[in-house]
Symmetry: C2
Subunit: 117 residues, 2 copies
DNA sequence: CAGAATCCCTGGGGATACTG
DNA sequence: CAGTATCCCCAGGGATTCTG
């Protein structure tokens, strides 16, 4: 016999899922990084920096490592002189498309609604 | 005459929008809070806490204030004894639906893909 | 170019106890 | 019930300089 649980297990599961997502995307830059790669397919370290406006190389480096560890993006060293490195989303990373787009759209919307006040 | 800019203004705009969103939703709990209210319509302080599993009241209180300041949720004091307070999403807050759902779905997906490894 | 090394510092976040 | 009040701590993040 089913009763409505006061705290649906379903609901808790979803909330945990959201927390998971936010944890992996924690920090001030990760979403933006994923977003950049979402719009640009593949980027090099410095180019990525240019997209992010104001991020320090150390921080960028660390964020990239985090994302790589979670298999959201892939790092490729090109054998050129000088050496270049390319970053691109993995399949996992690409699966964030919906999230990235939702946030982007919402952000644009939000700016408008603030501006019109 | 249109030329492809090396750093599309469009792209930067989107990235900024994402940063905006992430800033408003910064911290470990905001998304989860929005999510809870997305699934439950309206909740009281303590109930909200129950959904979030492990959050300290001080922290919850602060997160709620932040969200309220950004007009993402509304606080209502009920004239009961003892006093009760209800939180619910504003229209602004509800507009985050897409974001919340995207993150939730992705989180569930991600858990599976990790578990199956 | 792609980072690593250093130094620094605030504030986000937690634990616990208390109150109207 | 719905929060405050305190105390505390570390890591996220920044600025700058250096290197293979």
């Amino acid at each position: 016999m089913k009763k409505k649980a006061s705290l649906s297990e379903d609901c808790l599961r979803n909330i945990r899922a959201m927390k998971d997502a936010q944890d992996l995307l924690s920090g001030k830059w990760k979403i933006a990084i994923i977003g950049s790669l979402h719009y640009n397919e593949r980027l090099r370290f410095t180019d990525l920096g240019r997209h992010l406006e104001g991020i320090a190389p150390k921080v960028l480096s660390k964020e990239l490592k985090d994302l790589e560890m979670n298999h959201l993006l892939k790092r490729t060293v090109k054998n050129t002189t000088p050496i270049t490195v390319e970053y691109e989303l993995t399949q996992q990373g690409k699966s964030l498309k919906k999230v990235v787009e939702a946030m982007s759209n919402w952000g644009v919307q939000y700016r408008k609604s603030i501006a019109s006040k």
